[in-house]
Symmetry: C2
Subunit: 339 residues, 2 copies
Amino acid sequence: MSVARPTIHDVAARAGVSKSLVSLALRGSPAVADASRTAILAAAAELGYRPNAAARSLAARSSRTVGVLVLDLHNPVFAEVLDGVLAEVRAHGYSTMVVTGLDPAIQTSEIDKLLEFQVEGLVLVSHRLAAAAVRAIATETPVAVVTRGDITGPGIDTVRNDDRLGAHLAVEYLVGLGHRRIAHIGGGDDPVAADRELGYRQAMVAAGLAQQVRVLPGSLDDAGGHGAATLALASRPRPTALFVANDFAAMGAMAAAVDAGLRVPRDVSVVGYDGTQLGALRSIGLTSIAQPLTEMGRLAAEGLFARIEGRRRRAQNLVLPAEVVVRSSTAPPAPARTE
Amino acid sequence: MSVARPTIHDVAARAGVSKSLVSLALRGSPAVADASRTAILAAAAELGYRPNAAARSLAARSSRTVGVLVLDLHNPVFAEVLDGVLAEVRAHGYSTMVVTGLDPAIQTSEIDKLLEFQVEGLVLVSHRLAAAAVRAIATETPVAVVTRGDITGPGIDTVRNDDRLGAHLAVEYLVGLGHRRIAHIGGGDDPVAADRELGYRQAMVAAGLAQQVRVLPGSLDDAGGHGAATLALASRPRPTALFVANDFAAMGAMAAAVDAGLRVPRDVSVVGYDGTQLGALRSIGLTSIAQPLTEMGRLAAEGLFARIEGRRRRAQNLVLPAEVVVRSSTAPPAPARTE
DNA sequence: TTCCTGACTTGGAGCGTTCCAATTCAGGGT
DNA sequence: ACCCTGAATTGGAACGCTCCAAGTCAGGAA
């Protein structure tokens, strides 16, 4: 391609000043005389000069970049969190390097790359790393974990919603509608899913429905929700409502209901978790426990900057409220029949 | 955080060799004696040495990184394209820097950042840049554009599907089912959407249905599809099938049908475009014209490396086939009534 | 005039690597 | 004993920038 990009030297030569002054002018130092500044900017524009980030990073001993690891870009949850992170990072004039990987091994290698780039902080959105790995990373650079709160330590901020409380909200909402046979479709061994399941159990007991507790093992995706819901809906007495571990799986559960010849919400109500924009699509209309995903991303980044800029030293563990967002997948149960 | 990371000098001192040999050993040069290599690797491990990417990039005059711009991470189309890009880039031992931005101004500033990082190539997934801007970028670094083929020039590869042909497939498939009143929900002024609309018109004429051509202006999202479909379904005679500009909008259209008291596919068939995993969700089951999204991403990256490595100089414009993926949103039209 | 001051400007020393030419050194051939 | 060779290793010069101590220079005070 283009041979030899112009450097700061070329700009200096063209403007008839020293490279140091060019550096100063380009970074907006007020000490530069107006005439010099004008000449330098003109020369830079004429040459199509573009600063070399690697050189700047090396010389300034600062990359002005934060890294972000997201579990899976297919799940819209992560896109929403990312919105918040990116906006906040941009507001601070930093760059973001985004990497992904479902597999922990890939996650580790991607994080290594970020650290080699000398990122000044790391946001982990739903990682699958071992606690020891996260703590090790936190000794090198500030870390903020979004959606999980189970790993803490010096240098590790967390931002999450209270999944247990969210599950309570779901159960209470369904109970309020008149449901009693409320089954839960679990999300596998994910720590977040475990909390939601626990919250479900506690809330059922608190509502005097200990007898009705029913948990079907599923997973956090479409297929898992479909499979578990199929089983749940085939059992007798059939549940009148399903509280599913996340929106993605809830969509599978809704399909399972249709496949079983049931109508949502007339025959069975479905509640998801996350409050993704996906569930808000008109053809889905999923009632869900909504987390403030974008805000969580924003807060994670904000917290990171507080540490990068030395405004805070202690780790911060934020817990944000979740709320029931009612759409069209829930309704009071059909009047009791002789089941 | 951690003060002063160990450098190659520290490793050299610890292993009792010169920094040059450390550099050689770390990069796996066969010229290094086994004993030295072992000592160096051990020293590096003990110190927790991590190479500095900025320094390497500067000294080697190569960042071994490619940049990727995606329009919008919320649309699963892009996640699928990204899968292909990331896999191919990783296979070449390069890193990827992903940036996003719906707004052309943000896209431009993000691309500037990528260029400052000295990326060695750029993949643009559904950008919204002016042709002149893309051509300017292509003078600095190889560019591959995915999903659009309207901007060409030296240094610009394109990978897309034939949207016009895909639209033909959709119409022919619906005609084959027996549909005649097939309306099209357009996707706005996007060049991709324009091709799909054109293909629809041509295919209708080719099928002898010139009289039935009906195009409703919409957009490439849920709301646009919903609005346009509502209008289409309210008109008389009502279309028996809707061919919608993309999957996202098609989901809105399906919802509009339900809202109008119609059932899909009994009363109206819906065909989308893109073949996203979203449409494959069990509760949606959208028939769609599927593009090989991941493969397109992979090919774009592969083409980029062909240019980075100097194996090819001329621009390449790939057009991949699309295919009808039949799911549950289409069926033969209901037997004709006296409409 | 001389000195001082403050506003600008500058050269050079890094930053942590890679790359290259040059050096060392053991062993084999003579 | 001497030269040659090739394998292994090395020092130093970049790479393009930032940062700092030091320099220049006009104009005002003495």
